[in-house]
């Protein structure tokens, strides 16, 4: 138990130490004072702009910025779709995998373009090395770059006065991708290889088994085929860009994707690294670092108790095993607890911490199977996604979501005292609050209506894997994940069907662009306003009081929207498990 606590402590300490240096560096990359060593790279950058027909002197109105985001995402989508469909004819396909089906290609293309990285397919049995590199790896970078660019545009909205423009999308996208994501990924991927993550272009390795086994038809199996590939390069950016799409089917539970506790530690660290550091970048760019720390504090206040709660829920083990002669108690020689769907090297604490971190950030990679978590241990990851992925959240997307909640918080505070709400020296008007309402309500609606459609239709129910309320949880989790661009799953649900590929694809599009467009609208509207000086009636937004207010708003909206749905799934399942009521598929 002490070691569990120590592991949590070390994790959060190291994360906190990284916030300031990385946050400051990112502020320089996006701001006016560039680090001098970037000089030579920036000459290449300018040369690339000329080649691409981009005028890097011109700034964009928010509508132009939004159109650029949409155009780039459309090109990305078409490319990922086409590469998957054509992979059978393309090179770098040592396992001779055939083209991916149209519905699965659509779903995966949307999934990677929207930074969701929901995976209806199994990586090692579906995607060729070329598809992994040229389609998926590229999107891991640029979809994260787009999220950060939109955030920076919103921050400019706060920082600028009487301005009609919010920056140049092409420049923001390029700088985030090339100067932040690329160098970090390069370092991380080499560290991961040193731990045992594979990185090769040769074909799958055949191994002679020590003890032959047999398959489910009774045929003897003498060899083991070990899937390998260019995994480390992709895993590094999958974590840093809060993408989460695994190279292999079981994602970071796979021993060749996450071989050691140390690789696990650096991967978990990379998940929250940029989202946490961006809070500091925000404070730096709006000229008041306390504002950044306040947002980070609010995120942490929500996160930390949930980490402890999932640890306790998973460590408690299953009441259903009590009569079976199973030892679930933690001791020096075993981690104990609910080990179904967990890896021995990670045990309970690293699986629980990962589950919370990956759903708090919109990462969605997993190192254990969330479908086999205890009911309450599974509820918390699901709820973290339903909060709108604002507790750290995706790179860029998490913070712009949280800033929208901050606008709602000052609006509510303003209503209570009857004053016009302000945030960071800008008056918050009807337009901003309307846009904020869209940002918050669209994903909520998509989760609840999508789940309702699925459980009412025969196609939706046909591929539910577990019986009873847990089956409902599988569907609710899927829509929570897709609509908030997370990408993790209760993976028992058979999601690679035309029905789920289609409807979850639409949910992902709503969750991404239904949020980005109003956020850019807010950015444009704020940038055009004049700054007002702080007066006696201004609510200070850098105080513990504001942290409490912001946390309350996030939790109340999340709790009120989803409590009824959660009651039908994990909550009722918890009560059933405690009274030893089990379910079977008839």
């Amino acid at each position: 138990m002490i070691s569990n606590f120590l592991q949590l402590l070390i994790y959060f300490s190291v994360l906190l130490v990284c916030v300031k240096p990385l946050g400051l560096y990112m502020a320089k990359v996006y701001g006016d004072k560039k680090p001098t060593w970037l000089g030579p790279f920036m000459r290449v950058e300018r040369w690339c702009y000329r080649l691409c027909g981009i005028d890097d002197k011109v700034e964009m109105h928010w509508k132009t910025y939004a159109t650029a985001v949409l155009s780039f995402s459309l090109v990305s989508f078409l490319s990922v779709y086409a590469i998957q469909r054509l992979q059978g004819w393309l090179p770098l396909n040592p396992e001779s995998l055939t083209g991916v089906s149209p519905d699965s290609s659509f779903n995966t293309a949307v999934s990677f373009v929207t930074n969701t990285n929901w995976q209806g397919y199994g990586g090692e049995s579906t995607m060729s090395y070329l598809t992994q590199m040229l389609a998926l790896c590229v999107q891991n970078f640029v979809s994260a770059g787009v999220g950060m660019a939109v955030l920076i545009a919103l921050i400019r909205g706060f920082a600028r006065k009487n301005s009609t423009t919010i920056g140049n999308f092409w420049i923001d996208l390029t700088r985030g991708t090339v100067y932040i994501l690329l160098p970090l990924s390069l370092v991380l991927s080499i560290v991961l290889v040193s731990q045992g993550v594979v990185q090769t272009l040769s074909s799958y390795q055949a191994v002679t088994l020590i003890e032959p086994t047999s398959d489910n038809t009774g045929q003897p199996v003498l060899t083991q085929k070990i899937a390998v590939g260019p995994a480390a390069s992709q895993i590094a950016i999958k974590q840093l860009g809060t993408n989460g799409g695994g190279f292999f089917n079981v994602n970071s539970a796979h021993p060749l994707e996450n071989p050691t506790p140390f690789s696990n530690f650096v991967q978990m660290l990379s998940i929250l690294l940029i989202p946490a550091a961006l809070c500091y970048t925000f404070g730096e760019l709006v000229g008041d670092r306390r504002q950044g720390w306040t947002i980070l504090a609010a995120m942490s206040v929500i996160l930390l108790p949930l980490v402890v709660a999932v640890c306790l829920a998973e460590q408690a083990g299953s009441p259903a095993f009590e009569s079976l002669g199973v030892d679930q108690l933690a001791s020096v020689s075993q981690s104990g607890g609910n080990m179904e769907g967990k890896e021995t090297r990670f045990g309970i604490v690293n699986s629980a911490l990962w589950a919370v971190v990956t759903t708090a950030a919109s990462n969605g990679s997993v190192n254990s199977m969330h479908d086999s978590f205890s009911p309450l241990g599974g509820l918390i990851p699901m709820w973290l996604m339903q909060l709108g992925e604002v507790v750290f959240g995706g790179v860029g997307s998490g913070l712009y979501g949280m800033l929208v909640f901050a606008l709602v918080a000052v609006f509510i505070a303003g209503l209570m005292v009857g004053r016009t709400p302000e945030y960071l020296g800008k008056k918050i008007g009807a337009f901003e609050i309307k846009m904020a309402a869209i940002v918050i309500l669209l994903p909520c609606g998509s989760v609840l209506l999508g789940t309702a459609c699925a459980v009412l239709s025969a196609q939706g129910k046909a591929t539910v894997f577990n019986p009873g309320p847990h089956g409902f949880s599988e569907v609710l989790y899927a829509f929570s994940s897709a609509s908030n661009n997370n990408g993790s799953a209760f993976a028992g649900l058979g999601a690679n069907t035309p029905f789920y590929n289609g409807i979850l694809g639409i949910a992902m599009l709503i969750g991404r662009f239904g949020v980005i467009l109003p956020v850019l609208g807010i950015a444009g509207s704020l940038a055009a306003k004049k700054a007002i000086p702080v007066g006696p009636g201004t609510l200070p937004t850098h105080t513990p009081l504001f942290v409490v207010l912001l946390v309350t708003v996030v939790i109340v909206i999340g709790a009120l929207s989803f409590f009824p749905a959660l009651a039908l799934g994990p909550i009722v399942e918890h009560l059933m498990l405690q009274s030893h009521m089990l379910q079977s598929n008839r």
Partner: protein, 197 residues
């Protein structure tokens, strides 16, 4: 939208070359030159053929070998070309009956032991978990000692050799590599196997 198409397409091509070709190829070159063993799957070779990867478990069901975690891959257990967990939910009867079957399989060889360590009877997340807990290894020592005619002390020494503690004394969980342990068992000259085994 049309006016953005030229920059969108051309900058997308630049990113594809940079992050989709140059970056993974550079990482491959560095990985293959600095860490060739790890980058190719940490394979274990004996004479001229490969007998496994120290990171990927194999299926063991004979009483003379240490058994690993339950594997939910299909069509055969520990199928490293198609990783998968069981995804059984906590209230699914299929989960409790799978646990019961595994408990029975273990008890069949050894009725003296008490409670079975939980990782011995539950499926791993990947279906390829190479490790079991030290408690799970200890649970199997009596069975293997009996079927190999080995002293339990000797076996515990071997187990200890294949056990890794927490990394830096802190991270992760203590664990025993099942494949390495079984290879060490087969190599051990004093571990006389009964004829025809």
């Amino acid at each position: 939208m049309i006016i953005h198409m030229r920059p969108a397409i051309s900058i997308f091509i630049v990113f594809t070359i940079l992050t989709g070709i140059l970056y993974p190829c550079l990482v491959t070159v560095i990985a293959q030159s600095l860490f060739p063993h790890q980058a190719n799957g940490s394979l274990i070779r004996r004479e001229d053929h490969t007998i496994g990867s120290s990171l990927i478990g194999q299926s063991f069901t004979s009483p003379k070998y240490f058994w690993g975690r339950v594997s939910a891959t299909s069509p055969s257990p520990y199928n490293a070309a198609s990783s998968s967990g069981s995804n059984l939910g906590p209230t699914n009867v299929a989960l409790t009956s799978a646990v019961q079957d595994r408990v029975n399989a273990l008890k069949q060889y050894d009725t003296t032991k008490g409670l079975v360590p939980v990782d011995m009877v539950t499926s791993s997340a990947s279906g390829l978990d190479p490790h079991i807990s030290p408690a799970a290894a200890e649970y199997q020592v009596t069975r293997i000692a009996k079927s190999r005619n080995l002293s339990e002390e000797k076996l515990r020494d071997l187990v200890a050799q294949c056990t890794q503690g927490r990394e830096f004394g802190l991270l992760g969980e203590p664990r025993v590599n099942v494949l390495e342990l079984n290879i060490a068992l087969d190599k051990d000259k004093s571990s006389e196997l009964p004829p025809n085994e």
